[in-house]
């Protein structure tokens, strides 16, 4: 076993980005579904105003986040990989109930497990850009027509609005799963604590190899009950 150390994993900007993005998306969901006619809370006009302001705020935040990820090289964390994917599916479907350890060790160089990589990659390349694009079209769709650029005219809001709504449902489903999966860390609150304080108990690298440190497959196969005294 590699030694465990109390390490600063999530940096200040990363945490600021994560939590403000979380709040903005939740706020966008509430106001968005009010505009959609599903709920009634702020009043329709306020909901529209707030939704648009929050949308621009989120866009600005995303621009900063992209810059941060590029400049720090952290974007590599999200590169999807099939390695250990099966192991992780196994872990969440079976191992977790037997108190098996996570199939891989978290390090500063590899914060995300393969499932997270895959899901976040999809989120960042499909869902969020899709929401951004449909959202911007939703806000701006009349203006091309107003300025008479016919090639830019969008005939109807229908497709834009329906795609935007579909994306919203997917994001909320993600949010539910995400909130639940917080509890699957080393302890129920360890993941939450890490994202709040930035510090987490992570496994140090065994050697100077820059590849992510992983545990052998055998550990996963080992029944959890046998490790119990």
């Amino acid at each position: 076993m590699s030694p465990v150390k109390h390490v600063y994993v999530y940096r200040a900007f990363e945490r600021f980005w994560h939590w403000s993005q979380a709040l903005l998306i939740m706020f966008l969901a509430v106001t968005g579904f009010e505009i959609h006619g599903s709920i009634s809370f702020f009043g329709f006009e306020n909901a529209v105003t707030y939704h648009n302001i929050a949308a621009y705020a989120l866009i600005i935040l995303i621009i900063f986040a992209i810059f941060w990820h590029l400049s720090t090289g952290e974007w590599r964390q999200y590169l999807p990989t099939l390695t250990h994917l099966r192991a992780y599916l196994n872990y969440y479907l079976f191992g977790i109930f037997r108190d098996a350890p996570h199939p891989t060790k978290k390090t500063v160089l590899s914060k995300l497990n393969p499932l997270q990589k895959l899901v976040y990659f999809g989120l960042k390349t499909i869902i969020l850009p899709g929401m951004l694009l449909t959202g911007l079209l939703y806000i701006l769709y009349r203006y091309p027509q107003q300025h008479g650029v016919e090639a830019l005219n969008v005939e109807s809001l229908r497709t834009i609005a329906i795609l935007h709504t579909a994306g919203a449902f997917l994001l909320i489903a993600f949010l539910i799963a995400h909130l639940y999966l917080i509890t699957t860390g080393d302890t129920v609150t360890s993941n939450l604590k890490a994202m709040l304080t930035g510090f987490e108990d992570v496994h140090e690298k065994d050697d100077d190899d820059t590849k992510e440190v992983i545990q052998s497959q055998e550990t996963i196969q080992q029944p959890a009950t046998e490790t119990a005294p």
């Binding site: 505009i35 006619g37 009043g43 529209v48 105003t49 109930f97 109807s156 609005a161 709504t165």
Partner: protein, 525 residues
């Protein structure tokens, strides 16, 4: 160092773009204030007609007054004689029909149906004098009735059924010495009483507008801007801007709110976005017939019921006729929510002699054109007047019956109650065939609602349209409206996805808890 500079440059760009995006691109808030100031200055009269020597005399006939007017205003009569007010018709181009002259001679409505044969009576509201039964006064300039529009004494009045002649006892000299810009009373005396009574036709033009308060009309309110008709209906060479689509087909010479208020008058950008597809009136006239009821339905098929051999009338508690032996049955409404249609400024009309295809369908007498995909069209509020009116089922042609006559026995419906005879006489006069059969058909007529404007504190609210059920725009289904429309597939799929996720997470969590408990128990044993 490079990194920091880059970061700073980037932050600056982000802040600037944020400011640019979030800053409201609105009209300056002072625009409305400026308008108010402009309208509050009422210019004094430029000319005092009371001192003109030519008017210091007694006028026997109204034509003498007109002659005197023309002796100074020596081109104005040519302007008047080009106007539709004078000609009872307009030159219009209607797609699919070509250039046509549309007016009271050939247009059909579903109130008193048409003017043909009733000119002497109709001329009470014509700007001509001396209208004969044949309706031929269109060449003599001295028959222009200057005073009906320009009397500022509010004493001028036309006599009933006298071919447009004024009441004989008037002091024409006094009136002529007190002429000026048309006042609300000059326009209102005809336009408020169309259809034979107050507010019968328009619904948004009625005698309450002689002295309205701001909550009836925010512009005309005597406790507010106190604006007159001609302040909006701007007139050049006696050509008055603004027209009604019961008789107009083309998108020209209209009176727009935007003329004064601009295209984007709101402080809120979201509201300004609406102006591309929604007319100002749609939100700013939440109800019409605010003070007095307007006629909403006219059933001609019940004409002719008698009591003791005599015609009679039935009124509702507010004094509106609900039945007249000569005209049939009526429905009225007050404080009405308009209906809404797309309108691009053009219309087509059912004209006298037109044949319809389907005798079971409702005939639209003035079809307003437009749709969501029409870039020129906006949603406008309308009063739709519905009726059941006489038709010839054989020739599939609406009937123009002879309604009015001086005496019984001349075949007029209003005297003799004989549909066949009055239809035969009316259609003969129109030069149209008549089969001898009279049946009844449903028709509707669109009256764009433009008056009785409410201020910003009493407008239509967002959720009156942006709502799932029974919104004001529930009938306009050719576009996606946020808050109303959705994809049932996405809605059902989305709900299912959320439920599945919740259930999945709950199940997963429960198994974890149970597994942990078992393990702990096992440990204890």
């Amino acid at each position: 160092m490079k990194k920091i500079l880059l970061l700073l440059a980037f932050a600056a760009i982000a802040v600037l773009s944020a400011v640019a995006l979030l800053a409201p691109a609105d009209a300056p808030p002072s625009a409305l204030t400026e308008l108010r100031e402009k309208m509050e200055t009422k210019p004094a009269k430029k000319v005092d007609h009371a001192v003109f020597p030519a008017l210091q005399r007694r006028f026997e006939r109204p034509q003498d007054v007109t002659e005197t007017c023309i002796s100074c205003h020596n081109h104005r009569h040519t302007e008047v004689m080009r106007s539709n007010h004078w000609n009872w018709e307009r030159e219009e181009y209607v797609a699919g029909r070509g250039v046509v002259y549309i007016g009271k001679k050939n247009a059909m409505n579903n109130f008193c149906i048409g003017a043909m044969g009733n000119e002497k009576s109709c001329a009470k509201c014509h700007i001509g004098l001396g209208m004969s039964e044949a309706g031929m006064t269109y060449t003599d300039a001295t028959n222009i009735d200057c005073l009906v529009c320009h009397d500022n004494t509010e004493t001028y009045a036309k006599a009933s059924e006298q071919g447009g002649a004024p009441v004989a006892t008037l002091d024409f000299g006094h009136i002529a010495r007190n002429v000026g810009k048309p006042m609300r009373s000059n326009c209102g005396v005809c336009h408020f009483y169309g259809g034979g009574g107050n507010n019968v036709k328009h619904g948004d033009l009625e005698e309450a507008l002689f002295q309205p308060t701001r909550d009836v009309d925010v512009h005309m309110g005597i406790d507010g801007m106190d604006m007159g008709c001609v302040d909006c209906h701007i007139t050049e060479e006696h050509n008055i801007a603004g027209k009604l689509y019961s008789l107009s087909s083309m998108n020209r010479n209209r009176a727009y709110c935007e003329t004064c208020h601009g295209e984007t008058p709101h402080e809120s950008g979201v509201l300004n976005e609406h102006t591309l597809k929604v007319a100002c009136q749609t939100c700013h006239i939440p109800v019409y017939a605010k003070v007095n009821a307007t006629k909403t339905h006219w059933d001609w098929s019940t004409v002719g019921k008698l009591k003791n051999g005599e015609p009679y009338e039935v009124d509702d508690e507010e004094g509106n006729h609900t039945y007249l032996s000569i005209k049939g049955s009526f429905k009225w409404g007050k404080q009405l929510e308009p209906e809404y249609v797309w309108f691009n400024g053009t219309a087509s009309h059912y004209l006298l002699g037109d044949q319809y295809e389907d005798s079971t369908a409702t005939i639209s007498l003035n079809r307003l054109h437009g749709s969501y995909s029409d870039a020129d069209a906006k949603i406008i509020p309308v009063k739709i007047h519905r009726a059941i009116q006489p038709t010839d089922p054989v020739h599939r042609m609406l009937i123009m019956p002879k309604l009015y006559a001086d005496a019984e026995g001349e075949g007029a419906l209003w005297k003799d109650f004989d549909w066949r005879r009055s239809a035969a006489l009316g259609m003969e006069k129109a030069g149209l065939p008549f089969s001898g059969e009279v049946s009844f058909i449903k028709t509707e007529m669109y009256w764009p609602i433009n008056h009785m404007v409410s201020g910003k504190d009493a407008t239509v609210q967002c959720t009156e349209c942006h709502t799932r059920d029974n919104g004001r725009l529930a009938g306009l289904t050719d576009f996606y409206m946020p808050g109303r429309d959705y994809s049932p597939l996405v809605e059902t799929g989305g709900a299912a996805l959320l439920i599945l996720t919740l259930v999945g997470m709950a199940a997963h969590g429960s198994i974890r808890v149970i597994a942990a408990k078992r393990k702990n128990n096992g440990g204890a044993r």
